[in-house]
């Protein structure tokens, strides 16, 4: 699809336009109100308008929780700005609230003086009671410190779609687009990307195309004409690195990264998976690319999913498995086997809050030690973690590259926040992506299953069906070189050490570690995964106060970057903030014998910049 962004129609009543540098909007309503959709479409509009952005979808695990309840509230926060931003923002400037429960849940986060747009039709006695309001906050003066815009969104939506012969239930479902239209006007975002999206999405039901576009436009025009809104806000495009951009979520980037890697390796891709939040979208997206020689296999369980992927890898395909923590732990047995038979296998763990079923739709980083250590005996694997939604593409690609090069399982660790969060993504050129050079062994001359490449220690990848190379592999201990079953004690230790050394040599492939801030100083903040944005912003702001704090963000967690030891030595203190109780912290302390401190949050939400700054300042003052 090509882009043509029209300027929104000029308002008939001239209104004042105020320029803002950065705005955080949170849409919230019932889980059936379409707030995720409204948020994503707003994100797309503002992306096309050229701002930088970051998002935080936040929804309950229940598909349609009972209407009007506090636990059924679904929210979507988007931060957009004319400068570089790294987080969805700590506190919203604007709340678009579809019912009293949404207001109740979200009001505590709104900045003083912030804007509230509320659907008055939903502020009924019954709904107020469900949300725990004794009186309507829209009328009792309790919102005096905010700018409140009460709008009968439901009624106006129904009016907008009148004459389309829709029943009230269907018609009122368009109200998310009305709210989106109004918000788009208020922040001068172009609505034509949304119109195009509606046309594509509801292609098969023209009456819904019509209804949703009417609702969207009605909301937009209401902003224009209603006297209630005297000011329109504008956020100018950000000065991003020149290039062609699109908006992308982490899961989408992960899917594309895998497809791209298989293409660059010239091999079919086999994705085995079992549906699990928040990883399923990767399976969905990859499944739509069958014309890329892609097999997707929805298995009977998590074990079969990774088993089939390993079977495909044995056959010479790029074998990938996507999951989240509760599925990850079921796969460890198969990963253990992949370690033993030294086949390439990629496991994507899109982490979520746990333990056990935990909070499926919330984010966390607590699977790290499981990924590195959680298998039987000595079972080293490579562990990688992308830092931003867009980076998911490159790290997914890297996971495939390393697995094939070293004949080793690679665990790729994203999380719920990266998975569903979006950002503008500079689209890479295919020709700039590295080629993944896979050489299958075909010559029987001197062949032995466990002969190793002297540099990488990888054994040869042999496809069944290659004449003269028939051999057996398996989970039983294998004799070095020949691969015969062997219970020899010395051989066993040798093989354990060889497999460990092979993983250690992946360090040769790790780029130099980038230190943000001074290369030496008082405090070094070490992070990994999705905390990147918040850590960048927090360290930059503290640094701007003239203080000595630098930041290193790890993409390679096993093995660790070879230069990390030297970097750590150059700082007086080390802080490791993580969304767990201190897992990377343990590793850093053990590996480098440094008295690093942790900062830990296990609430299912990302760090706020403010709380990080406070901790950093505390440490600097100690």
């Amino acid at each position: 699809m090509t882009t043509h962004t029209e300027t929104p129609p000029r308002p008939q009543v001239p209104k004042r336009t105020e320029e803002l540098d950065e705005v955080v909007i949170r849409f919230a309503g019932d889980s059936g109100d379409g707030m995720q959709l409204a948020g994503m479409q707003f994100t797309n509009e503002t992306a096309v308008a050229g701002t930088d952005l970051a998002t935080l979808p936040d929804f309950p695990a229940e598909i349609r929780a009972p209407a009007g309840t506090l636990f059924g509230v679904s929210g979507f926060q988007v931060n957009f700005s004319s400068h570089d931003i790294f987080t969805p923002g700590d506190n919203p400037d604007v709340l678009v609230m579809m019912n009293p429960a949404a207001l109740k849940v979200n009001l505590r986060d709104l900045k003083p003086g912030g804007i509230i747009i509320a659907d008055t039709a939903e502020f009924t006695e019954n709904n107020l009671k469900k949300a725990g309001f004794a009186t309507s906050p829209l009328e009792d003066g309790s919102l005096a410190k905010y700018q409140v815009f009460p709008v009968d969104i439901t009624q106006m939506t129904l009016r907008a779609v009148e004459g389309l012969n829709l029943n009230t239930k269907v018609a009122s479902r368009c109200k998310n687009f009305y709210a989106l239209g109004l918000t788009s006007w208020l922040f001068t975002r172009p609505i034509d990307p949304t119109i195009r999206w509606i046309e594509g999405r509801f292609k098969k039901t023209p009456e819904l195309v019509d209804a949703n576009i009417r609702a969207l436009k009605a909301g937009y025009h209401f902003g224009e004409t209603a006297e209630m809104f005297a000011v329109q806000y504008e956020v100018k495009p950000a000065r991003l690195v020149p290039g062609k951009y699109r908006n992308i979520t982490g899961n989408s980037a992960t899917a594309l990264g895998f497809i791209a890697a298989a293409e660059r390796a010239g091999l079919p891709l086999f994705l085995g998976s079992y549906p699990i939040t928040p990883a399923s979208d990767v399976l969905h997206e990859v499944a739509s690319y069958k014309n890329f020689n892609v097999y997707t296999f929805q298995a009977e369980d998590e074990i079969a999913a990774v088993g089939a992927a390993l079977g495909a890898a044995y056959g010479g395909a790029i074998g990938i498995c996507t999951t989240s923590g509760p599925g990850m732990l079921l796969k460890q047995e198969m990963i253990n086997l992949a370690v033993m038979v030294e086949l390439p296998l990629i496991i994507a763990d899109i982490q979520r809050a746990g333990p056990s079923t935990g909070m499926p739709t919330k984010t966390e980083q607590a699977d790290l030690l499981m990924a590195i250590y959680g298998r039987a005996s000595e079972s080293p694997v490579v562990v990688l973690a992308p830092a931003t939604p867009g980076e998911c593409f490159f790290m997914a690609f890297e996971a495939v590259r390393l697995a094939a090069k070293y004949m080793v399982p690679v665990i790729y660790m994203s999380d719920g926040y990266l998975a569903n969060g979006a950002e503008p993504w500079k689209i890479p050129k295919v020709s700039e992506l590295p080629q993944i050079d896979v050489q299958f062994r075909t010559s029987p001359e001197g062949f032995q299953p466990y002969l190793r490449d002297p540099e990488t220690l990888a054994r040869a990848w042999v496809k069944p069906g290659t004449p003269g190379l028939e051999h057996r592999i398996g989970g039983l201990a294998k004799e070095d070189v020949t691969g015969h079953v062997s219970y020899d004690p010395i051989n066993n230790e040798k093989m354990v050490r060889l497999r460990a050394e092979k993983v250690a040599r992946v360090a040769m492939d790790i780029p130099r570690t980038d230190v943000r801030g001074d290369p030496s100083g008082k405090l070094l903040v070490i992070g990994w995964g999705s905390t990147y944005g918040a850590l960048v912003e927090a360290t930059e702001r503290v640094r701007a106060q003239g203080k000595s704090v630098s930041h290193v963000h790890l993409r390679y967690l096993n093995p660790l970057p070879p230069d990390l030891k030297e970097i750590i030595r150059r700082f007086e203190r080390v802080l490791v903030p993580e969304l767990n109780t201190g897992q990377l912290l343990k590793i850093i302390r053990a590996e480098y014998l440094v008295d690093a401190k942790g900062m830990n949050k296990i609430q299912g939400y990302p760090f706020k910049v403010g709380e990080l700054m406070q901790k950093i300042q505390e440490l600097l003052e100690e």
């Binding site: 050229g50 062609k244 892609v294 074990i303 495909a312 044995y314 038979v341 069944p464 051999h471 057996r472």
Partner: protein, 339 residues
């Protein structure tokens, strides 16, 4: 070599024997099964490199190490899952799964039923000796109720599972039973499994002479097997007995009954075996203890295989959407240019 237009593949049993010493207990039924496989394969005209044996864990699962083909000894119960991934992405290979009653019906029961219902074109051999041999003699899911073993000194409380019924219930397209010591019958059954397009399930009654000797005695003993084996043949009436004097017909209550031929009964009244009739397979799978044990093919029907379907989807996607264009999908949706 070069002068021969198509060199005929002349392999022998020896070609399929690996250089590894077979480590099963002397007298184990697995030897006979291995031997029949190595005898049948040369007749099939498949190059060794096109054959893959995938196994789980247990005595039976050591099988791949002894076959001079490609082989993958995997983990407990998961062989069907691994074989599925291999066969989908490499449909031209001949993939055999070797499993046992513990591996295939206990820890791996789920994978077994799903491989069968998907009709992945893999051949699953389940060696059933009604005992856990490799872990030294605990009862298995096919052990008889009340079985006294190391882990059940007061007798097992588990009602045994019927492998044939599991396979039929999972909608397997080929379901058969054979016996380790019935060499000709076993060879023929392996051949039939190979010829079948789709997942093939063979339960092989196998003796564990160390931990469960005589598990199938009445069926395997020369003196008694005539009365205890019902050899299934397509289109033939169900006749058995030492002197083929007995038959099975459907009684008035719709239940099968044993009749003696010649006493006013002739073979025309007997049930005639039909591998395509699901009711027939069901009746045969559920014959009670007073009946002989059927061996042979219970069911053989055609259905699209999963691997065919998966590969056809890729081909049709390529036709419909064109070959994958990476540049295009990276640039999909709304884009904008920053100058």
């Amino acid at each position: 070599m070069s002068q021969a237009a198509t060199p005929m593949l002349k392999l022998t049993r020896k070609d399929f024997m690996s250089d590894q010493e077979v480590r099963w207990c002397p007298g184990c039924g697995d030897y006979a099964i291995l031997a029949q496989m190595q005898k049948v394969l040369p007749e099939l005209g498949i190059p060794r490199d096109q054959l893959v044996f995938v196994s789980g864990i247990g005595c039976a699962s050591r099988f791949p190490y002894y076959m001079n083909t490609y082989g993958f000894h995997t983990i407990h119960g998961r062989a069907p899952a691994i074989a599925t991934g291999l066969k989908i992405s490499r449909p031209e290979l001949h993939v055999w799964v070797v499993t046992g009653d513990g591996d295939g019906l206990s820890i791996g029961g789920n994978h077994l039923i799903h491989a069968l219902r998907r009709n992945v074109d893999i051949k699953i051999l389940l060696f059933n000796n009604r005992i856990y041999g490799l872990t030294k003699g605990q009862y298995s899911p096919t052990s008889e109720l009340g079985k006294v073993t190391k882990s059940t000194p007061f007798g097992s409380l588990d009602y045994p599972i019927n492998p044939i019924e599991i396979a039929l219930g999972a909608e397997a397209t080929f379901v058969a039973r054979s016996v380790d010591v019935e060499t000709k019958h076993l060879q023929e059954t392996l051949r039939r499994a190979h010829e079948h397009k789709g997942s093939a399930f063979i339960e092989i009654l196998q003796n564990c002479n160390v931990f469960n000797d005589g598990a199938w005695e009445p069926i395997t003993d020369r003196a008694t097997k005539g009365d205890h084996q019902l050899v299934l043949e397509q289109g033939k009436p169900l006749v058995f007995g030492k002197n083929r004097e007995k038959g099975i017909r459907l009684g008035k209550d719709m239940n099968p009954e044993i009749v003696t031929l010649g006493e006013g009964v002739d073979t025309s009244q007997l049930l005639v075996h039909d591998e395509t009739n699901p009711s027939m397979a069901y009746i045969l799978s559920r014959l009670g203890p007073q009946f002989p044990t059927p061996i042979g093919v219970f069911r053989a029907v055609k259905r699209m295989t999963y691997d065919e379907g998966a590969n056809a989807q890729i081909e049709s996607a390529k036709k419909r959407l064109g070959p994958g264009d990476l540049e295009a999908i990276l640039n999909r949706g709304d884009t904008w240019v920053v100058k």
